[in-house]
């Protein structure tokens, strides 16, 4: 009994997030009955999974006290290269997809080198990288529109296997792996220490630079994977498709209970955050709120969460 109590106490914020997500869902379903229909839930699950996967990297990066601002254009690059290299056909996907993932992981690697080894502040490094990718992609595309997504990828994102969305299976596996890494591995624990106090990490013999490098590589990988899946969802690629994910990933992570300063948080929390965000997104057309106000609403939500969390932290001191 006691053990269950401690588990609940230490994961208070995350559980709260799930409850909020559930409440919002129920509230909307009552007001707009179509919301809870099976087809709509399927769409929600796909959107949540994509966001969740993209936010995987951001979670790890924020835990170590950094941030990855290059996610928007990693996602866009990944999706664009998928459609261009494949020209919409399924033939060479076995080569193209690993190549793209390798590429985005490499981008993350460069971010990691800049942050860990060159001691460039994460915000500058990833901001700069975002710009580089933006310019690079614009230059390469030269104004051309994006192309179609191969049907195989579309299936992975949108299709079912025995009634369960393929993407959900993929995401659940990722959730399990990520949670095990964070809670049960040496690497995971080291990340929390690094995010909390790098000096202590140094004095404890932790290889801070390598850990940070790995974390940014992971973020690049997750962004690349998310971009591919996103291309599957939309059916094609276009240049600005990654833009919303910077803030969405950050909001999901923070609403999910991870501290903005690093050193705490769980991927399970980000999952809850992703749910809340996606459900709220569904709110807007349901209540005829214009899409342009969406950004303001998300911003205010994030603002409120950060301010509340920080006020709580401060009152404890």
């Amino acid at each position: 009994m006691n053990k269950i109590k401690t588990v609940i106490r230490s994961n208070r914020t995350i559980i709260l997030s799930y409850i909020i997500a559930l409440l919002i869902f129920i509230a909307i379903s009552i007001v707009r009955p179509g919301f809870a229909s099976p087809s709509h839930i399927r769409i929600l699950i796909i959107d949540v999974s994509i966001l969740g996967i993209i936010a995987l990297g951001q979670t790890f990066v924020i835990i170590t006290g950094g941030i990855d601002i290059s996610i928007p254009w990693i996602v866009a690059s990944s999706a664009t290269f998928l459609t261009i290299l494949s020209s919409g056909e399924n033939n060479n996907l076995a080569i193209i997809i690993p190549l793209i993932l390798l590429g985005t992981t490499f981008v993350g690697f460069i971010n990691g080198v800049g942050v860990s080894y060159l001691r460039i502040p994460p915000i500058i490094m990833t901001l700069g990288m975002n710009s580089i990718l933006l310019g690079g992609l614009l230059g390469i595309m030269g104004g051309r529109p994006g192309e179609r997504t191969p049907t195989l990828v579309q299936f992975v994102t949108n299709g079912n296997v025995r009634g369960i969305p393929v993407i959900l299976i993929l995401w659940v596996i990722i959730i399990i792996l990520a949670t095990i890494v964070l809670k049960n591995t040496t690497f995971g624990r080291q990340l929390y220490v690094i995010g909390n106090n790098e000096k202590v990490a140094l004095f404890s013999g932790i290889n801070i630079r390598l850990a940070k490098l790995i974390v940014y590589c992971l973020s690049g990988f997750a962004g690349g994977l998310g971009g591919i899946l996103l291309a599957g969802r939309i059916g094609q690629s276009y240049l600005g498709m990654g833009d919303q994910f910077l803030f969405l990933s950050a909001i999901a992570v923070i609403v999910g209970g991870t501290s903005v300063l690093g050193g705490s948080g769980q991927y399970i929390g980000t999952v809850a955050g992703a749910f809340i965000l996606t459900i709220v997104k569904g709110l807007l057309p349901a209540f005829r709120i214009p899409a342009s106000a969406q950004q303001v609403i998300y911003g205010v939500i994030l603002f409120t969460v950060v301010v509340l969390a920080r006020s709580r932290e401060l009152s404890k001191i």
């Binding site: 929390y192 404890s204 013999g205």
Partner: protein, 505 residues
């Protein structure tokens, strides 16, 4: 006796820790009043309250019979309280002149700004008035030496003609000639009717210049004496609070012949100069000397954090230690100076903190074996008698002494050959200190070697087999056997060569 500064019933807590407990303190004009006490006794906290840097929890402060409400440093400065901080309060990117007249309203011309030439001249005038030479007013502060910076800090405060002058360890960064200058200056200022309070760890300075001495211990004022009516022994016993002897376990030597660690010609810039020594198995080697003579660099170097030129031999093998991990792989563990910023993650549990260095040993199939982890932690907490609700308690909830034990446990988890302890009894209660001393003896008896740095002379004398005293980055003397007495350590710390009687083979 007109009482000019009266502080009554001052209390201040930081979380669980009570830094000041109902302290009464007063100082009169025309007097030089010294504040003594071990580290953590509350002196600095009192000073920060009187300077407006932090707020007291309770109590009152009166200056010349006027009740003071100090909410910011500016309030104190405007009332005439000038504080010279140990860590200085200078702005590195501004010049000497700009620092001295920083934020001084009357140094502005009619357009609200200051011109460098005018400031330069004003500074020269101030230098003349206070007898300072050899510093260029246009020099940027970050390029000055520590001693010069200290002088500027002093002039900065004096230029406002304060009624009350508070100095926190003012001489620790000064070169000898400037120490002379300062003491002379203080005597002069006292004659002019100022109230002067100063904190020092240097007994001979206190004896030379103070009229009145107050001793703090564990956040309380334990006694005020006229300097002429007391002596250093009485003051020291007031500071320590109990018979010195019962603190320490009986001295026993466990030194073996085997040399576990040898350092040869370690040098780095001016901070370490040709340091060489041998550490034997089972030896407790003390490191003494005033703060900042290279001891910290030495410790950090041995642990792979600082760089230096020179050789290290471990068990006879020349070894290169490039980072803490390699140090620990070679059996060297460091208990760092600052618990809260270097030793512990406060928001993590006991268990998580203790196993940080040995995580890779806890792996089975790539994952952390929680059972093994708990076993090791419970073992260590028992050996060290760490008092906590459970190993899942957050470290932030423990007392300072227990927190220190957690760090020790963390370092013992790697089963080190050599334990480096840097000022490990700072801010630790008396009971825990005694336990730490017993532990050191036990570790030595088990064949481990310890390098122990402390500024508390009694500890060096009573726990260590040998003590190397560092001065200006050099080992100026090695004391052992009959030579290992407080007077010799002090003399060596001040730069005097004490005859080395190396009684070891």
């Amino acid at each position: 006796m007109a009482e000019d500064l009266v502080m009554e019933n001052i209390s201040k807590s930081f979380g669980e820790v009570k830094a000041l407990d109902g302290v009464d303190f007063s100082a009169n004009c025309g007097e030089i009043h010294a504040l003594l006490g071990e580290n953590g006794a509350g002196k600095s906290t009192l000073i920060k309250i009187s300077s407006g840097a932090i707020k007291k929890d309770s109590g009152s402060i009166k200056l010349s019979d006027k009740q003071l409400f100090l909410r910011t440093p500016n309030d104190a400065i405007n009332i005439g309280i000038g504080t010279i901080y140990q860590d200085l309060s200078l702005i590195p990117v501004l010049t000497v002149a700009e620092n001295i007249y920083f934020n001084k309203q009357d140094s502005l011309n009619r357009w609200g700004i200051t011109f460098n030439k005018a400031l330069y001249q004003k500074t020269l005038n101030a230098f003349e008035k206070f007898g300072v030479s050899g510093i260029n007013p246009s020099a940027v502060v970050e390029e000055l030496t520590l001693s010069e910076k200290q002088v500027i800090e002093i002039i900065k405060v004096l230029s406002r003609d304060p009624k009350l002058l508070v100095l926190d360890e003012p001489t620790s960064s000064l070169t000898e000639d400037r120490v002379e200058w300062l003491l002379k200056l203080l005597r002069q200022l006292a004659k002019e009717g100022k109230i002067i309070i100063f904190i020092s760890h240097r007994m001979h300075e206190v004896e030379a210049i103070a009229d009145i001495v107050t001793v703090f211990r564990n956040g309380k004022n334990v006694g005020t004496r006229k300097m002429s009516e007391t002596n250093s022994d009485e003051l020291v016993s007031l500071m320590l609070g109990r018979e010195v002897a019962s603190y320490f376990p009986k001295k026993e030597s466990f030194i073996k012949e085997e040399v576990v660690l040898e350092a040869r010609n370690l040098s780095f810039n001016h901070m370490l100069q040709n340091v060489s020594f041998k550490l034997h198995k089972g030896e407790v080697l003390g490191v003494g000397g005033l703060v900042g003579q290279g001891q910290a660099v030495l410790f950090l170097f041995l642990f792979g954090i600082a760089r230096a030129v020179g050789k290290i031999f471990i068990d006879g093998r020349e070894t290169n230690i490039r980072n803490p991990k390699e140090a620990m792989n070679n059996g060297i563990a460091l208990i760092p100076e600052d618990r809260s910023t270097e030793g512990l993650i406060f928001s993590m549990t006991l268990r998580e903190n203790i196993t940080l260095p040995i995580l890779k040993n806890l792996k089975s199939h790539g994952l952390i074996n929680f059972g093994k982890e708990k076993e090791i932690v419970s073992n260590l907490t028992e050996i060290l008698r760490i008092k906590a609700e459970s190993m899942e308690s957050l470290v932030s909830a423990l007392s300072g002494g227990n927190q220190q034990k957690v760090i020790i446990a963390k370092m013992l988890s790697i089963e080190p050959k050599v334990l480096l302890m840097y000022d490990s009894t700072r801010g630790v209660d008396v009971g825990t200190k005694a336990e730490i001393f017993k532990l050191i003896k036990k570790l030595a008896s088990e064949g481990k070697s310890i390098i122990y740095y402390s500024t508390t002379l009694d500890e060096l004398v009573n726990i260590c087999d040998n003590v190397i005293v560092m001065y200006d980055g050099r080992i100026i003397g090695t004391l052992s056997g009959k030579n290992l007495v407080k007077e010799n350590i002090i003399k060596a710390s001040m730069g005097e060569k004490v005859s080395d009687l190396d009684t070891r083979v």
